[in-house]
């Protein structure tokens, strides 16, 4: 049983470690690999927030904060790239912490709306604070991640897409491990109890607002780091990238994948990033593919894509049972 479980986690990780080697020849495939990594971080960190039953519609805003912080600090204040990279996450968590207490006290629908407006405000500030962000023209020529070298062993030079694949893979695995540990810890249990019944959780002495605020900050920190990476990878930032829909797509990834399971957000982000790309040939009709996946899942798989194997297993059982009854 134990080895079976290890295999179940290690096999996909190994697959993703080997995948860039096969995709190496095609820049476009490598790009999609990297975007998948970013989306997985965003979706998984948003899913962590939703474990308390709160839906944030402003997650893209925190990615925006991370991206602009990292870009501005390296370009205007001469920060070293990796320092700025980390600062992206820290500023995102600082903003999240500043507003977490008031906004985690309101009810679900209002929380969704508050975070939606927050995302819009952050985007508009990026658009309006021209001295820092360059307004709608954005920031150009953001320096790439610096060369990592351990003398005598290896040097990694981030001038091509290939090393970026491993950087985002490493970052994503680190964040997933972190979120997974939280999920399986005392903190994770408490968060689930809040989602099930807020008042009951409060009645046994859980500081509900406090826990909601903590996980909100954690999620936003991860989004900030994803943003930092995006800034240095893409080397161009424009506020339009972080519009309302950037946030809404992240929650779509979570729900389509299946928010109840840890793997749900990962599966949702991967499927909804890769599948529309496969159908790139249909050009302007491409959104229909995305819409098709959305409607199929929401109408036929209420548990999300992550619930598909169980659903299939249950169906097979039902059919074989029916057959057994017919035979009897």
């Amino acid at each position: 049983m134990k080895s079976d479980r290890i295999l179940r986690y290690l096999a996909p990780i190994l697959l993703f470690i080997l995948l860039p080697l096969f995709l190496q020849g095609n820049q476009y495939y490598l790009h999609i690999f990297i975007i998948c990594g970013i989306n997985v971080i965003l979706a998984s960190s948003l899913r962590a927030i939703t474990t308390t039953g709160q839906v944030s519609l402003g997650h893209g805003g925190f990615m925006c904060i991370g991206a602009y912080t990292s870009a501005v600090l390296t370009m205007k204040f001469g920060f070293p790239v990796y320092g700025a990279f980390f600062m992206g996450g820290l500023v995102a968590i600082a903003v999240a912490a500043a507003i977490a207490y008031p906004i985690t006290r309101v009810k679900t629908v209002y929380f969704a709306m508050l975070t939606l407006f927050l995302g819009i405000v952050i985007m508009l500030i990026a658009l309006e604070w021209r001295d820092m962000t360059g307004g709608s023209y954005g920031i150009l020529d953001i320096p790439p991640l610096g060369t990592i070298s351990i003398p005598g062993l290896f040097t990694i030079d981030f001038s091509t897409k290939f090393p970026h694949c491993y950087f985002i893979l490493f970052l994503a695995l680190l964040i997933l491990l972190f979120l997974y540990r939280i999920e399986r810890s005392y903190l994770g249990m408490t968060l689930k109890s809040i989602a099930q019944d807020e008042f009951l959780a409060a009645s046994i002495g859980t500081n509900v607002a406090n826990f909601k605020a903590i996980i909100f900050c954690v999620g936003c920190f991860c989004a900030g780091l994803a943003g930092s990476f995006y800034a240095h990878y893409n080397s161009v930032l424009t506020p339009g990238t972080f519009d309302i829909f950037s946030s809404i797509y992240i929650i779509v990834h979570v729900i389509v994948g299946g928010g109840k399971k840890f793997s749900g957000a990962i599966i949702g982000a991967l499927v909804l990033t890769v599948v529309p790309e496969i159908f790139r040939v249909v050009k302007e009709f491409q959104p229909f593919v995305f819409v098709g996946v959305l409607f199929l899942v929401i109408f036929f798989l209420p548990e999300g894509l992550a619930g598909l194997p169980e659903r299939v297993r249950a169906e097979i059982k039902r059919i074989s049972k029916g057959r057994a009854q017919n035979n009897a």
Partner: protein
């Protein structure tokens, strides 16, 4: 001073259009318990239908408005039946359905009309001038239509049996169903009214400014802002919230840019929600 008065007048015009968008959203929310994110796309479709009928087919603009409202009212009934009915009260699932609809409708419009901005030419070009304040008839009629539709909706809710049934469903769905009210019919009615109002609002905005496939997103955000500000499910709150946001959108650009106006509006709403989570006139 004149500039300020002029901005207030402009804000009043934009405000009434926001009110029309928000009324639909708030009715749908109070009956179906979902925030209909695709509302902005209905608004965009309204503008495009009026554009198509009046510019491409050459039909009278006022008749085009009526046709757009009726067509999108029917679209609303279809959306309720096939998309939103089964997700009544489910916030997360309804977001997914709405995102699907947003992409679907936007893509259809981009594929059939292209993504460039379009203009609906003015029918009446006279301008009302009081002192130094100028108000084009086009904008004045937008306010007039807004006020008439709001009053009509108010009377409909207060005076008709269907309107009172809507109030009953909004207050207590099960209680209303036990009294023999057909909840599904009322849901369809609320979507029909909401979509028809959005269509008119979009067409009015399209006539004053421009028509583009991406005009729905901002309208949706503003509509939601209005109903949150006024209180979810409150018709009077939608009117007050819409006018407040309209004034902000009209006055702040005098001193700063339009983006700053949006920032001020949204920050104001965030603050009000934190202090008073149910909005200005909302019941808990």
């Amino acid at each position: 001073m004149d500039a300020l008065l002029q901005s207030i007048v402009n804000g009043f015009v934009i405000g009434w259009i926001y009110v029309l968008v928000a009324l639909g959203l708030t009715i749908v929310f109070s009956i179906m318990r979902i925030v209909q994110f695709a509302h902005g796309e209905i608004y965009m479709l309204g503008a495009f239908i009026v554009y198509y009928l009046s510019v491409v087919l050459g039909i009278n603009v006022f008749i085009a408005f009526v046709i757009a409202a009726i067509v999108l009212g029917l679209v609303g009934i279809a959306l309720e039946r096939f998309f939103f009915r089964r997700f009544r009260g489910q916030v997360e699932s309804s977001i997914i359905v709405a995102v699907g609809l947003i992409l679907l409708l936007q893509t259809i419009v981009v594929v059939s009309f292209g993504s460039q901005d379009k203009w609906i030419p003015s029918v009446v070009t006279e301008i009302i001038t009081v002192g130094n304040i100028r108000l084009p008839w086009e904008r004045a009629s937008a306010v007039l239509i807004g006020i008439i539709l709001t009053l009509a909706l108010f009377l409909f809710i207060q005076k008709t049996k269907s309107g009172q049934a809507m109030v009953a469903v909004a207050q207590d769905l099960e209680g209303a169903a036990l009294q023999g009210i057909n909840v599904d019919r009322i849901s369809a009615l609320s979507m029909a009214i909401g979509c028809a109002l959005a269509a008119v609002a979009g067409a009015l905005m399209g006539a004053i400014f421009t028509v583009s496939p991406s005009m729905g997103g901002f309208a949706m955000a503003n509509g939601i802002a209005v109903i949150i500000l006024g209180g979810l499910g409150s018709v009077a709150g939608a009117v007050i919230g819409g006018l407040i946001l309209g004034f902000i959108a009209g006055i702040v650009p005098l001193y700063a840019s339009t983006h700053v106006a949006s920032i001020v509006g949204f920050v104001l709403i965030i603050l009000i929600l934190i202090i008073r989570p149910r909005g200005l006139l909302g019941r808990d």
